[in-house]
């Protein structure tokens, strides 16, 4: 790891200021992606701004029809939250299957969503549930938030303070993990909310995406049979030694059906 200047601001405003002044400053929430990257010397930040000292960024509350999760809330806390379990059990289930227990004790929802790793789990939930991402400067709708591989609508110095998930009538997340890394090789989050049915896929493409044909079919008939024959084109999907694009395309359908079955159980 290259050395850097370390900061642990106590307020969000301080954090933003620290990030602003420097060209190569990085915010760090859980550090579960950043630290491994630094260890491999694949980044050389001048400054690391640790958000761990900022009060009030972590926590889960229910506000009306929404579950609002603070940006610094750890995966383990989402997974074990009684509020999340009762309002959106699929979200608790998803959080409980990220990484491994030690990673879940450190990793945060804000960090995961801001990083937008193509194989991360949370983006599928954010997109499928139509969540709203709140930052220090404003709000983003899920649909316009995930821009591409590791790319989001966040601008420099913009930090996620919370994410608000509307409660779902039915929802489930099914993940086919990469056998080695346990990242999602394909993960499908299916949700039926007041806004309609959404199907979001992570792991398969460069960034999380929705499958409109499945959404339309499920809106008419929320059953796995309804999407059985909806094929996803392999073109443009990820390919590596563990899964070809064709295999991923196939798994999207399988995982989507399983998610629908789980959501209707």
């Amino acid at each position: 790891m290259y050395d850097f200047h370390y900061h642990r601001p106590k307020t969000l405003a301080d954090a933003v200021n620290l990030l602003k002044g420097k060209d190569e400053a990085r915010p760090m929430s859980g550090g579960m992606t950043l630290i491994p990257t630094l260890k491999q010397r694949l980044a050389k930040p001048s400054d690391v701004v640790d958000l761990g000292g900022i009060k009030d960024l972590a926590g889960i509350k229910v506000e009306g029809n929404n579950v609002v999760i603070g940006g610094m809330t750890r995966h383990a806390d989402v997974a074990s939250s009684a509020d999340v379990k009762s309002a959106i059990p699929a979200l608790a289930h998803l959080a409980g299957h990220i990484g491994d227990p030690a990673v879940r004790n450190r990793g945060t929802i804000g960090g995961s969503v801001a990083n937008n790793d193509p194989a991360a789990d949370y983006p599928a939930a954010v997109l499928a549930l139509g969540a709203t991402i709140t930052t220090n400067t404003g709000k983003h709708a899920a649909d316009s938030f995930f821009k591409g591989l590791f790319e989001t609508a966040l601008s420099d110095g913009e930090l996620i303070t919370s994410i608000s998930f509307p409660k779902a009538e039915k929802a489930a997340y099914m993940k086919f993990p990469n056998p080695a890394s346990r990242y999602a090789m394909v993960g499908v989050f299916v949700a039926k909310t007041a806004a309609g049915v959404r199907v979001a896929v992570t792991g398969a493409g460069p960034s999380v995406f929705r499958v409109k044909a499945m959404e339309d079919a499920l809106a008419k008939n929320f059953s796995s049979a309804a999407i059985k024959d909806i094929k996803i084109p392999a073109d443009g999907l990820n390919s590596d030694i563990h899964a070809s694009a064709e295999y991923r395309a196939h798994l999207v359908n399988v995982m989507a059906r399983r998610a629908v079955d789980a959501a209707t159980k």
């Binding site: 010397r41 086919f176 056998p179 080695a180 030694i241 563990h242 295999y247």
Partner: protein, 793 residues
């Protein structure tokens, strides 16, 4: 007392206390005053000429103590690393032996090849400086794909090995086998790839060295399975340091599985540089380096044919294999696909004639050498795959076909057509027991039930034989091995009656500190808490060959028994003197010397005390002291055998394979500690399951980059990849070693790949799949099903 701690008892391990409390001492844990830290700059290219290396900027970086390149080692006349086993090809010529410099001179030959060594005040500083070294490479075409490595026009890796061929070797008489095939009613053919594995002992390799200017003595701490052999190689072949001036210590070592047998360049360089730097040097591999540079395992491409008569009796077996050596020959690499592979091709069967042809090929990949089982898993995979395939083709029960061809119990000792003479065994009861434990009878019902859930269930057998307990030195020498294969032991009593077992074997997880103590406790009646096993230090233990090839107890344990016998013999004389009896009348029972028919008794401790405080002692006849050593050279290998039955469920939608039942029944001869033996079997099975379902070292065929170079892409077995196992055992004692024991360390890994793959193939047969490449990853299984479907539909 010894009933609870002697041979056969499930004694809890003595070594656990320190490992469980964080007080084990592994190489990286050593506190060394004024230590410097080494970092090795490695080639990012699979094959390239080094046009120049510029270390000037790096040398000025903060904390840098020294930088060495291949030129420095060449100027200092450091020898190359050696391959210690000369294999003669089918024309009687010794194998090609290209040089293996400790640091690359003008060419790098695999990704990870060592280019420079930076020594600095901290590891980070060494790494910083390594980044500042400018190496100008001219990339050369890489030869990565084993299947085409020997083709005309393939890039040449060493001038000394034209066509990249290290040897073209054979065993058996081809004409005899051809004649057998001519009579065959049925021939089963099989093409397979034995996938390449990366050992991944959880402790990465590490080395630390210091040089004492006053005495001229070097000390090397290394993660070695065999410190004496490492010292011998470094002294005699590589560094020229007189053996008595080099002390090698292998302290607690976190697993080896073969990968820590070999002499590597890092430990060589650390030792060499320690005297030049004048301070201790420490190096610990990062896992990324382990992936690139630990000697890998397996990696064969094989075509095999089995001839059967109309009743299913095996008539002959033909095997052609290309074995990957990597870019350089590692310490024992040449022996693995020959003497440790082809000699096992008889398996448990009476196959009368066998012919094997093995070509060893160089590629631009990391060296390949022994990995848990070394050659024997490859052989077992060939035999047990083709036998199961033959059963499928002949519509025979796979257990029945095996039984029909087993070597009968009354045929031992049994001379196979491939050089080995099996000493003992009784195979039918093993498979019967396995079938019982696995509830083979109930399988079809379980298959039908699985089908109702949309799952494809399959069952697979693997009946292995292993030649281990290396080995008779004379045989090893005849086969080209460069070392003896005995083991040493010393039993050193202290005046107060406690005892140290000094052994040349090395424990890196195998539990010698407990098992060896049990042997001595049993033989001498000494309470186990009064026994300590000392190993891993050339300065304190007698020269020994180390631990690999499931040899520690069969050979090292036998040496201990021999030494114990000497203790008893001497103790008898002392006791006879003390009891004023004739030596012939003294017996040794339960730790006490007695005179039969009297109440005279001298406990061993009293005899020991008398030996060290010889106030009443036959000094004119007997030396004082109680310290005996022994060397044991076995008269044959030992031949553990067993049958594993694996039951899987395949999810046809995703290609996932789940192991739902796994049974292993083994014959390891007599067992000293069943708890420890079972642990060895568990671990071995999971390494075999890893090979079958998960693990694969993948080099990009074009670039030679290791793309499965971290745990992100190399799939290590995890707890939820396997079930709990059902074990059984049968005992035919080894007739030629005093404990009657056979090795147990490699068995699981040897048998499991075939058991799992046979189960996968059995599960997929109904959907028209006849071949899934190993490892049967979800992708491979899905593609096999996907490819098979049009034909099946």
């Amino acid at each position: 007392m010894t009933a609870q701690t002697g041979i056969g008892a499930r004694v809890k391990r003595k070594e656990d206390q320190r490992f469980l409390t964080g007080t084990g001492r592994y190489v990286d844990d050593l506190p060394l005053a004024r230590a410097t830290y080494a970092h090795f700059l490695r080639s990012p290219h699979a094959h390239a000429k080094i046009k120049s290396i510029d270390t000037s900027a790096a040398a000025k970086m903060p904390g840098v103590v020294a930088i060495f390149t291949g030129k420095d080692t060449a100027d200092a006349k450091v020898g190359g690393l050696i391959c210690g086993w000369v294999v003669k090809d089918k024309h009687g010529q010794p194998h090609k032996a290209p040089p293996h410099p400790v640091m690359a001179l003008d060419t790098v030959r695999y990704v990870g090849d060592t280019v420079a060594m930076v020594v600095a005040n901290s590891h980070d500083e060494a790494k910083d400086a390594a980044e500042a070294i400018k190496v100008d490479y001219e990339m050369l075409p890489a030869n990565v794909d084993l299947a085409t490595a020997l083709d005309k026009g393939a890039p040449q890796i060493h001038a000394e090995a034209p066509g990249n061929l290290i040897y073209d070797w054979e065993l058996g008489v081809k004409a005899d086998v051809d004649a057998a095939f001519a009579k065959a009613a049925h021939v089963t053919k099989l093409d397979l790839v034995n996938n390449r594995l990366i050992p991944n002992a959880m402790e990465p390799r590490a080395a630390a060295a210091e040089y004492d200017k006053g005495t001229g003595n070097y000390t090397l701490w290394s993660t070695s399975q065999n410190p004496h052999v490492l010292r011998l190689i470094l002294s005699a072949f590589v560094l020229g340091i007189p053996e008595h001036k080099l002390r090698v210590i292998a302290p607690d070592v976190g697993g080896g599985f073969g990968s820590k047998i070999f002499c590597y360049n890092e430990e060589t360089m650390v030792t060499w540089a320690a005297s030049r730097v004048g301070r201790p040097i420490k190096w610990t591999a990062e896992r990324s380096e382990s992936f690139q540079t630990d000697a890998h395992g397996r990696d064969h491409v094989t075509h095999a044919e089995l001839a059967l008569d109309k009743d299913g009796k095996f008539l002959g077996l033909k095997v052609e294999t290309i074995a990957n050596m990597g870019a350089y020959l590692s310490t024992f690499s040449t022996a693995v696909p020959t003497y440790l592979y082809a000699t096992l091709l008889a398996g448990q069967y009476t196959t009368p004639v066998i012919y094997a042809n093995v070509k060893a090929a160089l590629t631009n990949t990391a060296p390949v050498d022994a990995y848990r089982g070394a050659g024997r898993p490859e052989a077992t995979f060939v035999i047990e795959s083709i036998v199961s395939k033959a059963a499928k083709e002949l519509k025979m029960d796979p257990a029945e076909l095996r039984r029909k061809n087993f070597i009968p119990a009354n045929a031992f000792p049994y001379q196979t057509p491939v050089a080995l003479q099996y000493d003992s065994g009784n195979y039918p009861p093993i498979i019967d027991e396995a079938i019982k434990i696995a509830d083979y009878k109930g399988f079809e019902a379980r298959r039908a039930e699985a089908k109702s859930r949309g799952k494809l269930r399959g069952i697979g057998f693997s009946s292995y034989i292993e030649a281990c307990g290396l080995g008779p030195s004379r045989v090893i020498g005849q086969l080209g091995g460069g070392v003896g294969q005995w083991e040493s032991a010393e039993l050193r009593f202290n005046p107060t009656g406690n005892v140290q077992i000094l052994t040349g074997a090395h424990s890196h997880g195998q539990s010698h500190e407990t098992t060896f103590a049990q042997v001595v406790s049993d033989k001498l009646g000494v309470p186990i808490e009064n026994i300590e096993v000392v190993h891993g230090d050339t300065a304190t233990t007698p020269f020994g060959m180390g631990s690999y090839g499931s040899r520690s107890l069969a050979v090292g344990g036998s040496a201990i028994v021999k030494a114990a016998d000497k203790i008893i013999a001497k103790g008898k004389k002392i006791a006879a003197h003390l009891m004023e009896a004739s030596v012939a009348d003294v017996v040794f029972e339960g730790g006490t010397f007695k005179v039969a028919g009297t109440d005279k008794a001298v406990p061993l401790g009293q005899a020991v005390f008398a030996a060290y405080v010889p106030h009443n002692y036959p000094l004119e006849e007997l030396e004082p002291g109680m310290d005996e050593n022994a060397f044991y050279d076995p008269s044959n290998f030992v031949y553990p055998a067993g049958t594993q039955i694996c039951e899987v469920e395949v999810d046809p939608d995703t290609g996932e394979v789940e192991i739902v039942n796994f049974t292993a029944v083994d014959d390891f001869g007599n067992i000293v500690n069943p708890m420890i033996v079972e642990g060895q079997v568990h671990g071995g099975i999971v390494q075999g399951v890893g090979q079958a379902l998960l693990e694969n070292a993948v080099y990009d065929k074009e670039t030679g980059q290791l793309v499965s170079g971290s745990y992100m892409d190399y799939t290590m077995p995890r707890a939820d990849d396997v079930p709990s196992f059902k074990l059984g055992n049968k005992v035919t004692p080894c007739p030629h070693n005093p404990l009657g024991v056979k090795g147990c360390g490699e068995a699981g890994a040897i048998a499991a790949p075939a058991a799992v793959m046979n189960a996968v193939h059995d599960a997929l047969a109904p959907v028209g799949v006849s071949h899934v490449p190993m490892p049967a990853t979800p992708l491979n299984v899905w593609q096999a099903i996907h490819g098979a479907r049009p034909a099946a539909e």
